[in-house]
C-alpha cells in the first residue's frame, strides 16, 4: 500500500470508530459525565468543604485533574477493548485482516479512536468541573501532552486485552479488578504525602499515580512525584505496549487460525 492508501485506511478506521461511539452516545459519552458530576458534588462539594486544603488547593480544585484523568483512562480503554472485541466476536475484524491494511495502521486507527473518545469525555468533564470550581491551567502543553500519552497507552492496553479476550467477561476483568483499584489508589482523591511512609513506598509502584500527578502538575503546578520521571515512564510504557500490540496483530495472535 502506498502512504496515501495507508492514510485512507487509517481515516476509514478512525471514522468508523467515531461513528460507533457517537451512535451509542447514551452509552459512551453520557455515563462518565454523570459519574464524574456525582464525584464533583459528593467528594468535591459536600465532603470536600469539610476536608479543607490539599496540596495547597481547596479539595475541589485538587480532585478535578484526577477525576478528568480517571475519565480519560476509563474511556480510552473501554472504547478500544469493546470495539475491537466486538469486531472479533462478530468476525467483522476479518474485513481488516483480509485487506492490505498493515498491522500498524490497524493499531493506530483503533488507538486514535480510543484517544478521541477519551479526549471528548475528558473535555466534557473538564467543562462540567467549571460549574464547581475556578481554575487556570498552569501548563497547558504539558497537560495536553500527558493526556495524549496516557489515553494512547490505555487505548493500546484495551486492544491487547481485546486480543486475548475469549468472552465479554474477559474484557471487564481488567477494568474491574486492576484498573479501578489502581486508579482509586493512584492519588485521584488524595495526596500520597497523607499516607504512612510504607504505603507511600508501595504507591510508587502504581503507574497511575505518575499519570495522575503529571496531569495534576500540568493543571495546578503541584505533584507528589518527579514529573520528568512520570512523563518518561508513561512514554516508555506506551512504546513497550505499542510494540507488543503490533507484534500480536502482525502474528495474528487469536485472530488468525
Amino acid at each position: 500500500m502506498t502512504i496515501t492508501q495507508q492514510w485512507i485506511a487509517f481515516r476509514t478506521i478512525l471514522r468508523r470508530e467515531i461513528t460507533r461511539f457517537t451512535r451509542i452516545w447514551v452509552q459512551t459519552l453520557i455515563p462518565p459525565v454523570i459519574t464524574m458530576g456525582l464525584y464533583f458534588v459528593i467528594f468535591g462539594h459536600l465532603i470536600g468543604e469539610r476536608i479543607g486544603q490539599m496540596g495547597g488547593f481547596d479539595y475541589m480544585s485538587f480532585v478535578v485533574p484526577g477525576l478528568v484523568m480517571m475519565a480519560v483512562i476509563n474511556n480510552s480503554y473501554s472504547n478500544v477493548v469493546s470495539s475491537f472485541f466486538s469486531a472479533k466476536f462478530h468476525r467483522s475484524i476479518e474485513e481488516l485482516l483480509v485487506s492490505p491494511t498493515p498491522s500498524y495502521i490497524i493499531l493506530l486507527g483503533y488507538v486514535a479512536g480510543g484517544v478521541l473518545r477519551g479526549l471528548v469525555v475528558g473535555g466534557i468533564v473538564t467543562f462540567a468541573s467549571t460549574f464547581f470550581t475556578n481554575f487556570i491551567i498552569e501548563n497547558p502543553w504539558l497537560t495536553v501532552f500527558v493526556i495524549l500519552l496516557t489515553s494512547s497507552l490505555f487505548s493500546v492496553a484495551g486492544l491487547i486485552n481485546a486480543i486475548f479476550a475469549n468472552s465479554f467477561d474477559d474484557i471487564s476483568i481488567i477494568p474491574t479488578f486492576i484498573l479501578t483499584p489502581l486508579t482509586y489508589f493512584g492519588g485521584v482523591f488524595y495526596s500520597i504525602s497523607m499516607l504512612p511512609e510504607f504505603w507511600q513506598g508501595v504507591s510508587q509502584f502504581n503507574p497511575i499515580l505518575y499519570m495522575v500527578n503529571a496531569f495534576r502538575f500540568g493543571f495546578l503546578g503541584v505533584s507528589d512525584v518527579n514529573v520528568n520521571l512520570a512523563v518518561s515512564g508513561i512514554a516508555g510504557m506506551l512504546v513497550v505496549a505499542y510494540l507488543f500490540a503490533w507484534y500480536l496483530l502482525q502474528k495474528g495472535r487469536k485472530l488468525r487460525s
Binding site: 478506521i13 474485513e95 492490505p100
Partner: protein, 318 residues
C-alpha cells in the same frame, strides 16, 4: 513444482496442520487461470474453507506457497491482497453498521478514496438490489440480502480474483438464479472467480474448471466437460402421459416403473435414445418430459470421493 506466474492463483505443496494435530491440507497444488470460473468441490471438512482461509490470510499455512497474479502472499503481501475479494461462508460484518457504510469502509481498507468508494458502492448496491436498504443497519437485512451485501463488499475495490465460499447456501432458488446471473456477468467482464459450493448443479452450470478435494487432498482437477465425460452411465426419468400399471419391456434397455406416471431408464455412455423412444411409441406410451435422476456432477463427485477413500483404506492397510 514451481509457481505458475501467469496464473490468477497458483498453489504449490500447500499444507495446513492445526494445533490439535488435524491435517486440513496435505500438499495441495492447484492453478487457476485468469478469467476462469473455477469450482472447488468437496464434502464437509475436506479443506475447502481452509484453502480459502490461507489465500485470504485468515488462516496461517504450515508449509507451501500461494501466489495471486504472480504476487507471493508471503513476499508481496500487499499486492496479493489488492488482487482478491473474498465472500466468506458465514456473515462477518457488524450488524449494527449501515449497509452502505460496510461497503464504503471496506473500500477504505484497500486505500480506495472515499468519493470513489461511494460511487462504486452505489453501483454495486444497485446491481445487487440493495440500494433501497443502504441506510439500514445490516441486522435488518434478510439472509439473502446479507449474502449479496458480502458480494458487494468483496467487489468494491475491483479485485481481479473473487473467491466465494458457498455463496448461495441457504438462499432461495430465485435469488440463487439471480446471483448466478450476476456472477456470470462479472466473470464475462474479466473477473476470475473461484467458487466452493455444495450445490453441484451450481458448479456444473457456472464453472469451466473444477477441482475436487477430499480429506485435504486434490482427487481431481480438470475441466467440467472432461469430468462429465468420465460418466459411464446415466439414469433418466421419463414422465409419461397415460397411466401405467406394469413396467414395459424394451429390448436393450433396463426400465423400472417408479410410479404410475414415470419410468426410470439406465443408459450406457454413447447409447442412442432414439430406439428407446421408438419402442415406447410402438407400445403407445407417450413420453411428455425427461430429466436426469441425479445431477451428473453429483454422481461423479460421489464416485471420485468414494474411490479416493477406498484407495486411502488400501494404502493404510499395507
Amino acid at each position: 513444482m514451481t509457481l505458475e506466474p501467469s496464473s490468477a492463483l497458483s498453489i504449490r505443496s500447500l499444507s495446513k496442520v492445526y494445533g490439535n494435530g488435524l491435517v486440513a491440507l496435505n500438499s495441495v497444488s492447484l492453478d487457476v487461470m485468469p478469467g476462469d470460473f473455477f469450482a472447488l468441490l468437496g464434502p464437509n471438512g475436506a479443506g475447502k474453507s481452509t484453502t480459502i482461509g490461507i489465500i485470504s490470510s485468515l488462516v496461517r499455512k504450515s508449509s507451501g506457497t500461494v501466489s495471486i497474479f504472480g504476487n507471493d502472499i508471503d513476499q508481496n503481501f500487499s499486492h496479493a491482497k489488492q488482487c482478491i475479494g473474498v465472500v466468506p461462508q458465514e456473515f462477518n460484518f457488524s450488524v449494527f453498521e449501515k449497509v452502505q457504510n460496510i461497503v464504503v469502509n471496506q473500500a477504505g481498507f484497500y486505500g480506495v478514496p472515499r468519493h470513489q468508494a461511494l460511487a462504486s458502492s452505489e453501483a454495486l448496491l444497485r446491481q445487487l438490489n440493495l440500494w433501497e436498504k443502504r441506510n439500514e443497519p445490516a441486522r435488518n437485512l434478510s439472509g439473502g440480502m446479507k449474502r449479496r451485501l458480502m458480494i458487494a463488499r468483496a467487489l468494491v475495490h475491483q479485485p481481479k480474483l473473487l473467491i466465494l465460499d458457498e455463496p448461495t447456501a441457504g438462499v432461495d432458488i430465485e435469488l440463487r438464479r439471480s446471483m448466478w446471473e450476476f456472477l456470470t456477468e462479472i466473470n464475462r467482464a474479466g473477473t476470475t472467480i473461484i467458487l466452493t459450493t455444495h450445490y453441484l448443479e451450481e458448479a456444473e452450470n457456472l464453472c469451466r474448471n473444477v477441482a475436487i478435494i477430499n480429506k485435504g487432498e486434490i482427487v481431481e482437477n480438470t475441466s467440467v466437460k472432461k469430468l462429465l465425460k468420465q460418466l459411464n452411465r446415466e439414469v433418466f426419468i421419463l414422465d409419461v402421459r397415460d397411466e401405467l400399471s406394469i413396467c414395459p419391456v424394451i429390448s436393450q434397455y433396463q426400465l423400472r416403473l417408479r410410479d404410475s406416471h414415470s419410468l426410470e431408464v439406465e443408459v450406457e455412455k454413447g447409447q442412442p435414445l432414439n430406439d428407446l423412444f421408438q419402442q415406447l411409441a410402438e407400445q403407445n406410451i407417450a413420453v411428455v418430459s425427461m430429466r436426469n435422476k441425479v445431477n451428473r456432477l453429483e454422481e461423479l463427485f460421489v464416485t471420485l470421493v468414494q474411490k479416493h477413500e477406498r484407495q486411502e483404506r488400501v494404502g493404510g492397510g499395507l
